[in-house]
Symmetry: C2
């Protein structure tokens, strides 16, 4: 064994320690959001604090610095090479902010989240305003610490979607926004609208659960390496690639919540379950970015499970769990209704088409805030104006407008674009898949193994070994292109709304 | 703030770190034994190994040694005083064994456990014999390292039941053994035996669960600070005093498994839930010994839930969950049947009377082994002879004899007496309780709050602040006395078997 490989082994051991803290923290998070009894949570917070601190210390330790200095550019092991890159980025992100400043910021975030809840409840933006102002200032300062090439906002974007810049988004987003806005106008004018009321039937929770489990199984989700539980705000969480858990929420009066929610989280989970075992216990053993992750959940939720072919195959199965309720609902009507498009105030209730328009509003505002082009106090008015411009509706209150999302109050600027990127990536991947197989037929046949394997081989297995735009390029042969999403939505809704 | 109190605060912070590792490890253990998917367990073992190692390092660190040296006998804070005692004991126990030797021992234990499974399956004691020989040697060596006053076995006993010595047990156990053996002989000769077949009815799992939950609730188990889940080998586990979880196992053809099992674990859980909050995140925030813990589970399982008064009150409720099955079973017959006494080969299937006789067999053999009075190779024959002497039956195979328990193969010598101590403590506590209230009436009225509060105030709240025999003395005004258990069992079975 050479000296170099001894150092490499030490580094891998060090990464395992880091990964152990992360795995324990993930289990605690899962437990808190599923089964933990109420009174036990207070002390659990201490445990989270302690383990997070240990993890933070490892990431910013002299030992870590030493590994980075000694191994960067010095290793032939590709896993170690990429791990070092991730660790270095993490190290710099943490080290460049003065410790005291970071502490104050974390406290501010915690406080702001609480104030946000109050402001939303009272429908009073002025309560939140001073906090948001400080948060914006901190984020601008941090962005300067971290550095950027062209636009200060890039430094924030980089945390969620490395490689994607403001320049890229400003090229792509307006095109997407205009196309979607136009399509929405056409849809609004259609005289052939689906009737969503036909979906409103009581559907017992246990039956919804059985159907959801069956679909997860058919998607290829491995129940020996995961499980489905109930929660308030559904999520998927990876403890390790062999233990990736999905959660969902049941509304007995609207099956869409659990069914599409489970498939969505199942898409996230398939990504994490199928990351190569060789990346286990390294920082590479997770999805490469928020956007690519979202592309996987949306791929399954929308491009698979909201497709006509999917329901051609699965409607009988679905009805076997609710035979009386859907006895008189025809497949075509069902399919059209689950794809109803309707501009609404709230992002998380948005349909497949209007969702990205909600993101445009947020992206444009947060970019302008960070660039000092607008002021926090003007946000409510600007928000409402953009909603009217892009979606044609004006929020009736700040509660349903600027105050609806927690992201900014939690200090997350630069996060929102990931959602829209996820939609575009998903459509772009889908287009590539159509070149290798008859996707419609595969879905109609319920032959999901083919889809899962294709995603696994082309995307999942790499974990963080490839950056988002590199994956996009390797899989689709081109860079980010909004046209695929526009085409997909135009084709789909032209048929549904008979445009 | 004086220098002394600064050191004390540092020590308390240090204990919090220790407690955080313990809490994370407890959650992982709970998860592994309830919900963790199969494939994820391998990497989880790494996480357990890592966190256990960190915890071990803290317990044996120079920092710990320094706290002990500086604070021992130097503090007026009673919680810190007792915590230091616990830490010192832990420190010495770990430090007195040479590191290399301890590592070899841990590996031997892991190996022996696997061999034990094989030996039991093949009914071949000779496979296990060489491992047991080594384990006995190690334990003798460890006992010498740790030190003892009179009997080498005391050093091992001390780990599970501090303060209880071989001298005490040799005074008490033979009396108990003789009395129980005599009572068993009388029972065997009785012509008025209960009929256990009347209990054999199908009882759906969900109905058993509902009844078990209701009883837990009536016992005063706090569901805001705990929960009930299913598992293979039932246990109760404390993450912290506000999160103490119970698990159970359902046999649809024998409700006794889940019902009495849940009450038993519920007894353990009540102990942990009612430890004073002021002890939180110190080594005192748990039950004081194996024996006292077992006394709490047995108190509820046997002295409460197998009493005639309990079923006088709860049989109607019980039948409401299984009305058809128990329609024709009279209360008196039901009560007698759940209290059937029958000598059997296997400890964990033993009834309330014969259980302690199983323990006597084990205690006498392990004490003799550690004292070098007998050899491992002779164990099967000695075991069978003692079974015949005390229980009147001779195991038909080693599988049902010497090979049935994992304890010795896992290196646990000195543990078995705790079970019998638990029975005696429970009866002794019960006797004291009868002096403060009409226990029979209280149970008949289902007024369990009174019982729970009495146990809480007299036993639970102290955690490890008091040693087992101190608690016994404080609560009952006397030292260990087997007569209370003998009296209780004699009264009970005289009536049931009409002796």
């Amino acid at each position: 064994m050479t000296l170099g490989s001894e150092l490499e082994n030490d580094f891998l051991e060090f990464l395992k320690e880091k990964s152990s803290y992360e795995e324990a923290l993930s289990l605690i998070q899962w437990d808190l959001r599923t089964y933990a009894p109420k009174k036990g949570r207070q002390q659990r917070a201490d445990v989270i604090g302690f383990l997070s601190q240990k993890l933070h210390h490892l990431s910013t330790s002299d030992k870590m610095k030493n590994f980075i200095d000694e191994l960067k550019g010095q290793t032939e092991n590709i896993i170690i090479k990429h791990s070092i890159e991730e660790c270095e980025e993490d190290y710099n992100r943490n080290k460049k902010i003065p410790e005291q400043e970071y502490k104050e910021y974390i406290m501010l975030c915690t406080e702001s989240e609480t104030i946000w809840e109050e402001a939303r409840e009272k429908n009073d933006f002025t309560l939140l305003q001073p906090y948001l102002e400080k948060l914006v200032d901190y984020n601008k300062k941090f962005a300067e610490y971290w550095g950027y090439e062209k636009n200060i906002y890039d430094a924030l974007l980089h945390m969620y979607e490395p490689g994607v810049t403001t320049e890229v988004l400003d090229e792509v987003f307006p095109k997407l926004r205009n196309s979607l806005s136009n399509l929405l106008t056409q849809i609004n004018q259609s005289t052939n609208k689906p009737d969503p009321t036909i979906l409103q039937h009581h559907f017992p929770k246990d039956k919804q659960e059985q159907f959801s489990l069956e679909i997860l199984k058919r998607m290829g989700y491995d129940f020996q390496a995961g499980r489905l539980d109930e929660t308030v705000h559904p999520f998927a969480i990876s403890l390790n690639a062999n233990d990736v858990r999905v959660t969902t929420r049941y509304d007995e009066d609207d099956f869409r919540m659990a069914v599409f929610g489970t498939i969505h989280e199942g898409g996230h989970a398939l990504y994490e379950q199928n990351i190569s075992n060789s990346l286990a216990q390294t920082p590479l053993a997770t999805g490469t970015s928020m956007g690519i992750h979202e592309s996987q959940s949306l791929f399954w939720e929308n491009l698979v499970a909201r497709s006509e072919e999917f329901w051609t195959n699965h409607y009988q199965l679905f009805k076997s769990f609710a035979p009386d309720q859907f006895e008189n609902v025809e497949l075509q009507d069902f399919y059209r209704s689950i794809n109803e498009v309707k501009a609404s105030f709230v992002r998380i209730e948005a349909d497949e088409l209007t969702y990205c328009l909600h993101i445009m509003v947020r992206y444009e505002l947060e970019k302008a805030l960070i660039n000092g082009e607008i002021e926090v106090k003007d946000l409510p008015e600007l928000w409402n104006q953009k909603m009217e411009d892009y979606l044609g509706i004006r929020p009736n209150s700040d509660k349903n407008g600027i105050l609806q999302d927690i992201h900014w109050s939690a200090g997350n600027f630069g996060y929102f674009p990931s959602y829209a990127l996820g939609y575009m990536y998903a459509a772009q991947f889908h287009h590539s898949l159509t070149k290798t197989m008859d996707v419609g037929k595969v879905i109609k046949d319920g032959d999901f193994g083919k889809v899962k394997d294709w995603l696994g081989i082309n995307i999942h297995q790499y974990g963080k070994m490839k950056k988002p735009l590199q994956i996009l390029n390797d899989v689709t042969g081109e860079s980010l292109n909004p046209q695929y999403l526009v085409n997909y939505l135009t084709n789909k809704y032209s048929k549904i709304y008979q445009l």
